[in-house]
Amino acid sequence: MEVTVKMPQLGESVTEGTVSAWLKKPGDRVERYESLLEVITDKVNAEVPSPHAGVVKALLVKEGDTVPVGTPICILEAEGEGEADASAAEGHGPAAGAAPAGSAEPGAGAVTAASTESPQPFAPGQSERGRYSPAVRRLAREHGVDLTQVRGTGAGGRVTREDVERFVAQRAAGAPAPAAPAAVHRAAEAPAAHGAPAAPAPKLGPDDELLPLTPIRRTIARNMVLSASTIPHAWTMVEADVTGIERLIEARGAEFRAREGVPLTFLPFAVKAAVEALKVVPRLNATWSEEGIILHRRVHIGIAVATEEGLVVPVVHDADRLSIAGLAAAIADLAARARAGTLKLDDMQGGTFTVDNTGAVGTELSVPILVPGQTGILTTERAKKKPVVVGDAIAIRTMMALCLSIDHRVVDGAEAGRFLTEVRRRLESVGPETGLY
């Protein structure tokens, strides 16, 4: 009997998903829990398992299309009896969310639950495209290969280790690699949809190298184009005297690390100051919409983390309920998992404001681009000793720039200035005796 598969909800507040690849085509047989398609949401990929065994009848959504959760995406001719009724199918749809939500690692689709009636390992299904062995994934990562571009010669069209090696060798030799048919759908990416003027297609010269776009790179690009082209950014900065924090870390950092297992850094102080300042200026914890400004009561702070794959922004949820120690632990945990590529979808979503410690890479001033849907992003810059006037004397103090970009539709310079002043005041009030818990 016919069963409609719907776009599953892959995370608590995910409202839509982009079909990045169909792993089955009409006419293909699919086992229950076998991966049916790959979905991209925000910065995470996930494979969606089939709720039933059966044959794929029709695909209702094209690769590259984004549809709301619950939208019918595929029709299966299901086999079996009791479990073949549509309500069961719906019941199983969201179960996709129970499958591991994958990680921020590009291409790292979730491994679907093993079925008790899983096919023999040596009888690969009709189409193994989109399922990659550990060796293939490792090679792809090492060489920056977009696996959808590689032609598979293994059983069922599987991309083998040798296929990747051949692709890399051909790319190095400058020969055009045989393109995979599935890759075509991705060509028409979002920029045009956002009204960005089409630039002339760049040409690959003999001395140039083409780095294929990883899914994470594409997502960053899409978000940045969306943000920079739709949000009127305004920028401002203040300078804060962080000598007190520096002294506190000097005096109690080692003890803190021994007790808490994570280092005491500047960042949790900045996050705490930002969170408290957001309570004073709640307009900065908001989202612009044409219907009105959506104020968020809860405070979820995105923390920008540089990884080898690119920038990711995992979220400390309810950051306003955490102490300095709690923030330090939460930030250390997110950063470690971001670098290990083991972030979960929930870690990546719900941010209402972002803090980016750009000083870690040595910058002294930054003009950050907002995360779409947020109203403010704060950067903390490199701390350095400077002669400053204190009272009527000149003193050497450790100074740090705090930069803020805002969505000027939501707030004006007045709120931005007030927010930064609140952050500065809090940072400057910290001293060696300040409580950490």
Binding site: P121, F122, S133, A135, V136, R137, R138, G154, T160, R161
Partner: protein, 329 residues
């Protein structure tokens, strides 16, 4: 250099060690006057006398127990189990006493003995249920034992000498089908082959085959056959299960990313499971296909009937078929 069979190499190793070291003694059923049912000890009782080449009663538990006592008192006994299948009455002595003596006495007492066991079967052996079993997994599971199974005459001589000189109890397994069917140049005189290292018998980039015993030779035949089809195999001789040469095993897996483990012993909980686990733990990101085992089925032994023998035992054709499938995966 003279060509020797595996059984001749074993004979020479015992002969040379007994000549070299008066503390080396041999005991077992029919090892003396009969010279061993496989003739491994032919001529030794004439050469070294009844005090050093001892015909025992049909009581394997006592063979093992006496050997343990000898070893604790300064001798270096070689205990022969006439067939590995008969070692089970001796299992308690080996696992409860020999294997744990060193640990139990906090390093104070050692049991330098070798237990030789002819094992295995296959088409033409006609050993049936009680004369063709593979027992290596039982012993490899026990901490405190070394378990080795050379498949080539050169290794058989060198490893038996090393086993006799080793201070730990060593289970020394000799495949019956390999006894007279495998010949190789073996140097006269003294040399040893260390107990532990695996040996890569050939190198190829498509599939890695791990094996030991007679099926190692079948694996090498399969590799030769596949070469004609353009499939190049790495073949690893896992001649020691304990210690297990994880480094060589992992490196060989990384070479191809596709691994096939072949042994005659029943598939479940066999040596192949351990090898597969090592590869899964240490070479995951080099694997390009599921790890595969081609082993004896989970039935209690190789039946006498030739059809059973053929059905039970993987051969070069079946190994080649499995490797071919892996190469295509």
């Amino acid at each position: 250099m003279p060509e020797k069979t595996l059984i001749e190499a074993i004979h020479d190793a015992m002969d040379e060690e007994m000549a070299r070291d008066p503390s080396v003694v041999l005991l077992g059923e029919d090892v003396g006057l009969r010279g061993g049912v496989f003739r491994a000890s032919a001529g030794l009782i004439e050469k070294y006398g009844e005090a050093r080449v001892i015909d025992t009663p049909l009581a394997e538990s006592s063979i093992a127990g006496v050997a343990i006592g000898m070893a604790l008192n300064g001798l270096r006994p070689i205990a022969e189990m006439q067939f590995a299948d008969f070692s089970f009455p001796a299992f308690n002595q080996i696992q409860s006493e020999a294997a744990r003596m060193y640990y139990r006495s906090n390093g104070g007492w050692k049991v330098p003995m070798v237990v030789r066991m002819p094992y295995g079967g296959g088409p033409g052996v006609h050993g049936a249920l009680y004369h063709s079993q593979s027992v290596e997994a039982f012993y490899a599971h026990i901490p405190g034992l070394k378990v080795v199974l050379p498949s080539f005459p050169y290794d058989a001589k060198g490893m038996l000498k090393a086993a006799i000189r080793d201070d730990d109890p060593v289970i020394f397994l000799e495949h019956k089908k390999a006894y007279r069917s495998v010949r190789q140049e073996v140097p006269d005189g003294d040399y040893t082959v260390p107990l532990g290292p695996a040996e890569v018998r050939r190198e190829g980039r498509h599939v890695t085959i791990y094996s030991y015993g007679f099926l190692l030779h079948e694996s090498l035949r399969a590799a030769e056959q596949l070469k004609g089809e353009g499939i190049e195999c790495t073949v690893v001789d896992v001649r020691s299960l304990k210690p297990l040469d994880k480094k060589t095993i992992v490196e060989a897996a990384k070479l191809t990313g596709r691994v096939l483990i072949v042994h005659e012993d029943n598939v479940s909980f066999g040596a192949g499971a351990e090898i597969a686990a090592v590869i899964a733990e240490e070479a995951l990101f080099h694997l390009d296909a599921p790890v595969r085992r081609l082993c004896g089925p989970d039935v209690p032994g190789i039946g006498f009937n030739h059809v059973y023998e053929v059905e039970f035992t993987p051969d070069a054709a079946r190994i080649a078929a499995a490797a071919r499938e892996l190469a295509r995966y």
